[in-house]
Amino acid sequence: MELYAIELRLNGQPRKASVTVADTLLDVLRTQLGAHDVKNGCGQGDCGACTVLLDGRAVNSCLTLAVQADGSEVTTLRGLGTPEDPHPLQEAFVRHGAIQCGFCTSGMVLAAKSFLDDHPEPTRDEIREGISGNLCRCTGYTKIVDAIEEAAHVNAGGRS
């Protein structure tokens, strides 16, 4: 099968990969680019575990072909913040106990980041709709919604 050379920026770093048409962005991030913070869940856009920011907007990387991301900016959880310098959303998830097994967390935080960019002062119902593409089977969502609500307030206070 024909191979395509793609270039993208992954968490700010220029990266190259050689991909087939059928390779999803998820496949290439995990198998070629070492981005194991992106999780492979359902593979068909139902669970949101594979969420990344593609040119700033949260998408299912399992529903995006790697070739379609050629020339794009891709941000994974590690690009949002580090243990030394976490993003307010990451801090809020920790503080509220919004993480149990952790499998959904990477996608959940990135979906929340994209959602808050569009909805700086959300209601709790809007937050629930905003993470409706991300399944969590542990928490029952309450603490996740609490964390996102707090992060929105932190943002409103001048940090982003």
Binding site: M1, T24, R57, L63
Partner: protein, 295 residues
């Protein structure tokens, strides 16, 4: 469905040339949110199929000439590759065609809506495509670019059967034009799914009514997920037109919906449930569009 080549053309003209050169082995892709699950299923069932005929994917998702949303010459123009996210957030559409913005906001999840396009929603022609009833109620026209130039297809003629459309193999949906609704018009979109968000419709209904005081001077009411194609309920529209709209009138008009729908049993709901809920949702959508409190 096994894809082996990928082309990202620089404009619609190049897209049409590539599609024409590879027909019938060419496939338009934009967001890919419907296409990728089909490709994945095919891969599981048939393997990589190196010896099989492969498709050429022609990616129109990033073409500027297909992604705009603007008003011009009495029409609202929505590019075929405008995303659901762009449509739901468009101030122009929220103001003048909120029924479409609301329908777009009910498609999939926010993650899907950042990729999925309105042209894709029409081209895959799922009976439950949420933007279809909204565009039927808005009397939209689909501009299709093809080998022999452009042609205009009224949305009511676009769906030809279960997952069948007026599109030829090498066509691209360029634009969806909506006559700017009169200031007296107001619309509503309602959907019943198995959960509140990120659900496929069990029934979806869009209505656009023009009101003269309490009286309905014209009505368009359309449904999805209750027939092989999204469709207008003309008998419901006739029952409303020229009448004073109140709860009793809306419920009476909604009973006429059964002349048009032929729902099936599937994983989401039984045909019987769909018939019941379709009538109820039609009545509620009419009342919402007319600005009348349901009791």
């Amino acid at each position: 469905m096994n894809a082996t080549q990928y082309v990202r053309p620089k404009d619609v003209a190049e897209a049409l040339a590539v599609l024409g050169a590879h027909t019938p082995d060419a496939q338009v892709i934009a967001g890919g949110t419907d296409l990728l699950p089909v490709m994945r299923k095919s891969r599981f069932e048939n393997g990589d199929g190196d010896d099989a005929r492969g498709l050429v994917l022609v990616d129109v998702g990033r073409l500027d000439e297909l992604t705009g949303i603007r008003e011009e010459g009495g029409f609202l123009h929505v590019g075929g590759a405008a995303t659901m996210a762009a449509i739901e957030a468009s101030p122009l559409l929220k103001q003048k065609a909120a029924v479409l913005a609301d329908a777009a906001r009910s498609v999939g999840s926010p993650l899907v809506r950042n990729r999925a396009t309105v042209g894709g929603n029409l081209a895959t022609a799922s009976p439950s495509a949420d933007t279809a009833p909204a565009l039927l109620a808005l009397d939209a026209v689909v501009t299709v670019a093809g080998a022999s130039g452009e042609r205009q297809v009224p949305i009511a003629d676009f769906f030809r059967g279960y997952r069948a459309t007026a599109l030829e193999a090498a066509d691209v949906i360029r634009d969806i034009s909506i006559p700017v609704p009169s200031p007296a018009a107001s619309g509503a979109f309602r959907k019943v799914g198995l959960r509140t968000a990120d659900a496929i419709s069990v029934v979806c209904v869009a209505a656009v009514l023009e009101m003269d005081g309490d009286t309905c001077s014209s009505a368009r009411v359309a449904l999805g997920a209750v027939a092989p194609v999204p469709l207008r309920a003309l008998a419901v529209e006739e029952a409303l037109t020229g009448r004073r709209v109140d709860v009793a009138a809306a419920r009476d008009a909604a009973k006429r919906v059964h002349a048009h729908i032929s729902p099936i049993d599937d994983v989401r709901a039984s045909a019987e449930y769909r018939r019941w809920v379709a009538e109820s949702v039609v009545a509620r959508t009419i009342l919402q569009a007319a600005g009348i409190e349901d009791d």
